[in-house]
Subunit: 151 residues, 2 copies
DNA sequence: TTATGTGCAAACTCTTTGCATTACC
DNA sequence: GGTAATGCAAAGAGTTTGCACATAA
């Protein structure tokens, strides 16, 4: 792990401790391990996947703890979730940069993108209907370039 | 029900029979009832809600049949589904007009909209990444005008 | 010390499947 | 008459909860 990443990870961990303390809770190894896994994954993970990853790093953990921690992290907006099709929810670390998703229906790969123009249009549409926009999600479904070639 | 609606509903039912036949299957009262309920609801319904609606109209039906029928109708693209938050999937009749959704986080109301400019931008973004766009969904979350006043 | 966090197992919810029976063609 | 569709009940998958024990402050 580069020094840069090392530092970044420490910042996330510090943020976690801060938020835990702010809510009068206690720090725990499990919450920290889950955050580490999400940081290193750098992609969307299911609760089950997170559970196995944490176990690999020789830490003891239960699935219930993963669910509880993800609920906490999502409330604190430190992670975001996405769900599509019949697959369950998947989680990723909230890096603070909003983005949308392109999802390959063949291999399940999730790519991220951001387009300022669309964001503006969404605001405009909401405003027209007197709707107070708090969040949004946009998912594009199709075939990634690799899967198109295979087909 | 107006003559106009009567006619429209008949068209959907004819389409259903056509698609059932095309797949070498048999027509059934239950599939027809489910389509009727979706037509009259004119909004998103959960499988459970559809089940209860059909029962009201003095038809006998099981939840399993609702799930099986919805799967069939979705494959045939006669209905579309949407899922958000922890709530399960909701279904609506596919009227052939693509649209996106604004979802009120307070009362759960779902409003539909369509914006040609956003559609174009989505195409453009996909193209840039060599992604073959097959479908998309865009959900705006927030507070509808009524719920803003209440708060 | 004492309240919170955890792991485990049981409970729950939503959805799917197996099977005997019914309905369609 | 033969095949597909249905209802019911049981099975699955994913998630949540209760509880005794472990752990952080």
């Amino acid at each position: 792990m580069s020094a840069e990443m090392q530092k970044e990870l420490q910042e996330y961990l510090a943020e976690l401790k801060h938020r835990v303390k702010k809510r009068g809770l206690k720090h725990s190894q499990q919450r920290e391990q889950i955050l580490r896994v999400l940081y290193h994954a750098n992609k969307h993970l299911t609760p089950e996947e997170i559970y196995h990853e944490v176990k690999k790093s020789s830490s003891t953990i239960g699935l219930a703890t993963v669910y509880r921690t993800l609920a906490f992290l999502e409330e604190e907006q430190m992670v975001t979730s996405i769900s599509f099709g019949s697959e369950g929810k998947k989680y990723e670390l909230n890096t603070g940069e909003h983005h949308d998703h392109m999802i390959c229906l063949e291999c399940g790969k999730i790519m991220e993108f951001f387009d300022e123009r669309i964001e503006k249009l969404q605001e405009e549409i909401a405003q027209k209907s007197g709707f107070k926009l708090l969040a949004h999600e946009m998912n594009l479904y199709g075939l990634c370039s690799e899967c198109q070639q295979k087909a």
